[in-house]
Symmetry: C2
DNA sequence: CGACCCTTTGAAAGGAATCAACTTATGTGG
DNA sequence: CCACATAAGTTGATTCCTTTCAAAGGGTCG
């Protein structure tokens, strides 16, 4: 899973493949809606999401949650903890998740022996940052329906990049309330925007699954340009 | 300048200091309001800001600018280009800037010889990402005046961390319109929020200089917690 | 002095939030 | 298998904050 993801930036050397395959992973199942990393924590390991959805979020003093990123299988949502010791946010599951943990020490020992692997792990964190930048623009400058369209396009592309889409759709376990916490919108706005997209024949979102009916118009509406995903440079 | 910044995460070894001091920098002056890196560019060098203010921004299809980050002396605003080949945003000056360029090759050759320096450069990009995350929460969940207060607190802390503050304030060359492009607000809202902060006796912003009169109340209003800056882990 | 840029002000319009139901799924136990 | 409880989605009415529009001050610099 990890090797497949890292190969998105070009093939790995045989030695790097071997080193990755020898890493000791601790596979754990985590129930839905569980924050397993909290603000202030100082973890000594990272996780690789194998199955499920994970969100990164923070709270205002009033207790409102803002989701900063949504992670899909193949992502390492807390890779930044390798060099930023203290967590400044929460990491939690949306749906029941299978997660593989690996110690910081093991990663660091492996990276010491391959500058190419170091570059690829570093690059993964840089792509995370590119997604944040796109989110800042989307949430500040697009209207509610455009934001939702953009978000759905992003999710499609990322699911597609790891082979988790079928002909027209992908599984998507978030609620409308959570999507509101991603986009900085109320649940009512998300609902109405979704109805617009549905009425226009662009998207169907039903029972944990999104199907895209008209990619071109959806991407046009959301001003979606996949460059920021850096799926291939 | 760079060494000072990197030392924020602990002292450097003598060998690392020597390697840094031997890097060849190309020092250039860039006039105000100039985007010297554009979306789609594939730069082969990075820059270190020595003096002035630099912004990272993107545009909607309607031509509205959203500023994603503000960079102050000591920052390397385009360090991500080391491993993300294609620019997905613009980098430009606010005020006249002095910038030192260094080739990717030179950085990579240096980092190959020091895993500690690699970690510190990597960490710089991770802190950038932490700032983006804080911006996502701030711009989505805080009201206009709170956003402005939070932004001013962030700027103060970062200027202070590189020794560019005096007793109560720091130089700040942005216009209200630009701050609006940072916070996702209209210039009118920025102006009115600023008047509120001024009337409350929290901040004075006049002629390219910000002075903070009441840090505690300002930070309280902006729900500002400097943890996300990772100034010391 | 005048042009230009930036700040400030007032009034009106608009989009999203909020509030408060109601409806539809999902799930549990009797 | 149905009764009930709970979670998620839907709807309408109202309120509020921010934007937009338009114009007037204020500084700075050639």
């Amino acid at each position: 899973m990890l090797a497949r993801r890292l190969r998105a930036a070009g093939s790995l050397s045989t030695m790097d493949e071997v080193m990755l395959s020898r890493l000791h992973w601790d596979v754990v199942d985590i129930p839905a809606k569980t924050d397993f990393l909290k603000e202030g924590d100082r973890p000594n390991r990272c996780c690789l999401l194998i199955d499920g959805l994970i969100i990164r979020s923070n709270f205002t003093q009033g207790g409102e949650r803002q989701i900063q990123s949504v992670h899909i299988p193949g992502d390492m949502p807390d890779l930044q903890s390798l060099h930023l010791k203290q967590m400044d946010h929460y990491i939690g599951t949306v749906s029941p998740c299978r997660v593989a943990f690996i110690s910081h020490d093991a990663i660091l020992r492996t990276l010491e022996r391959s500058k190419d692997l170091t570059a690829r792990f570093w690059r993964e964190t840089l792509i995370d940052a590119a997604l944040y930048r796109a989110i800042i623009v989307r949430n500040a400058r697009l209207g509610s329906t455009e934001r939702l369209a953009h978000f759905i396009c992003e999710m499609w592309c990322r699911f597609d990049a790891v082979g988790l889409t079928d002909a027209s759709g992908f599984p998507f376990a978030m609620t409308q309330e959570m999507v509101g916490q991603v986009l900085g919108l109320s649940i009512v706005s998300v609902n109405r925007s979704m109805q617009l997209l549905r009425a226009e024949g662009l998207v169907v979102w039903d029972r944990g699954r999104i199907d895209i009916l008209d990619w071109d118009r959806l991407a046009g509406l959301g001003q979606f340009d996949p460059t920021f995903l850096h799926l291939d440079d």
